[in-house]
């Protein structure tokens, strides 16, 4: 049984592999009859050993990848968001109800929107709205059903749940698809394209200029998320 894994497990990077090590303080042992015995003459102390147990889904790797680069909606147009503890789920009809008086329209959703549910007891995941139940979403529906390929688990209201709209990926993109980036990062992609064009034309100076602009916008986008301000005094001889 693994315990305090943040203290007793270590990893090492080796090419395209992760090497896992377990840190133990002990010695080599063997089982004799019903007794576990320490072998005489064996080293006792701090050791690194290979993982010594099976753990289902035990290793979790968080990483960046080329995730849904092209989507059907611009980030700025993703308006749907709703949080409440009155949301319930019905498996047989694939219905999600917001509760009395709360409409999907006022929460910013529409037909065919792709949604992500978080905070539920057993329905966290990505789904696609089919349409409103009883009336259309535009007509003020308080419940929606999902497309036939989606499935839900019965769940009564009570959990603090958030539903928000996510962009719908297109795996065969064409000119009408959006880049799955916000406006500023999309503008950085414009600089990148200009840099590549300049590179093709052999204009290295211009390529370097646009690559600098590319990285500058990525940096700006990152600093937009952090509330840190830096102020530098202007020296008396500074050129303005």
């Amino acid at each position: 049984m693994s315990y305090d894994t943040h203290k007793t497990w270590l990893y090492r990077l080796e090419g395209r592999y992760i090497h896992l090590w377990q840190y133990i303080q002990g010695a080599a042992t063997t089982t004799l009859g019903d007794y576990k015995i320490r072998l005489p003459g064996e080293y006792y102390g701090n050791q690194l050993i290979y993982p010594n147990e099976d753990i289902t889904n035990g290793l979790r790797v968080e990483y960046t990848a080329l995730i849904e680069p092209f989507v059907g909606d611009a980030w700025e147009d993703l308006t749907g968001r709703y949080s409440d503890d009155g949301i319930s789920f019905t498996a047989s009809t694939r219905v999600i109800a917001l509760g009395a008086g709360n409409t999907w329209l006022s929460a910013g959703f529409a037909d065919d929107d792709k949604i992500r549910i978080i905070g539920s007891a057993s329905n966290d995941g990505d789904y696609t709205i089919d349409d409103g139940v009883g009336t259309s979403i535009a007509g003020g529906a308080t419940s929606i059903d999902l497309i036939s390929t989606d499935s839900l688990t019965d769940e009564a209201a009570g959990e603090s749940i958030t539903i928000y709209q996510i962009p719908d990926e297109d795996t065969t993109p064409d000119e009408s698809n959006h880049v799955n980036l916000n406006r500023l990062l999309s503008l950085s992609v414009v600089d990148y394209l200009k840099a590549q064009l300049a590179d093709m034309q052999g204009n290295v100076q211009m390529k370097e200029y646009y690559m600098r602009e590319f990285w500058k916008k990525i940096g700006d986008n990152e600093s937009n998320k952090r509330k840190i301000s830096m102020t530098f005094p202007t020296s008396p001889y500074a050129i303005r």
Binding site: S2, Y3, D4, T5, H6, W9, L10, Y11, R12, L13, E14, R16, Y17, I18, H19, L20, W21, A28, L48, Y50, P51, N52, E53, D54, I55, N57, G58, L59, R60, V61, E62, Y63, T64, A65, L66, I67, E68, P69, F70, A74, P173, D174, E175, S176, H178, V179, N180, L181, L185, S186, L187, V189, V190, Y192, L193, K194, L197, I218, N221, E222
Partner: protein
């Protein structure tokens, strides 16, 4: 912003190369800014230390191991340097 709008801003006409370059730009953004992250879980097997990175990985954010006493994933630390292996049944 649509692909068409990107191409118009740059003055490009070939969609295929534009999409390929946009993907390249995505790689650079994901490599440095970690705009979208993803999680993959792998079974840990008794006696096996070597586990492959996800094939689609651009940059690593964190590695965690499940603590089975409380069913929580806890970030583990990176070992710097090669450990001294005294007993190895499958040395490489």
């Amino acid at each position: 912003m649509t692909i068409q709008e990107l191409m118009e801003r740059v003055g490009m006409k070939e969609t295929t190369i534009a999409i390929a370059w946009i993907k390249d730009a995505f790689h650079l953004i994901q490599s440095n800014a970690k705009e979208h992250t993803k999680v993959q879980k792998i079974n840990i097997i008794d006696g096996i230390r070597k586990y492959p990175f996800p094939a689609d990985m651009i940059s690593l954010k964190s590695i965690s191991v499940k603590d089975t006493t409380d069913s929580k994933y806890k970030k583990i630390r990176r070992l710097v340097g090669e450990p001294t292996v005294t007993e190895d049944t499958d040395p490489e």
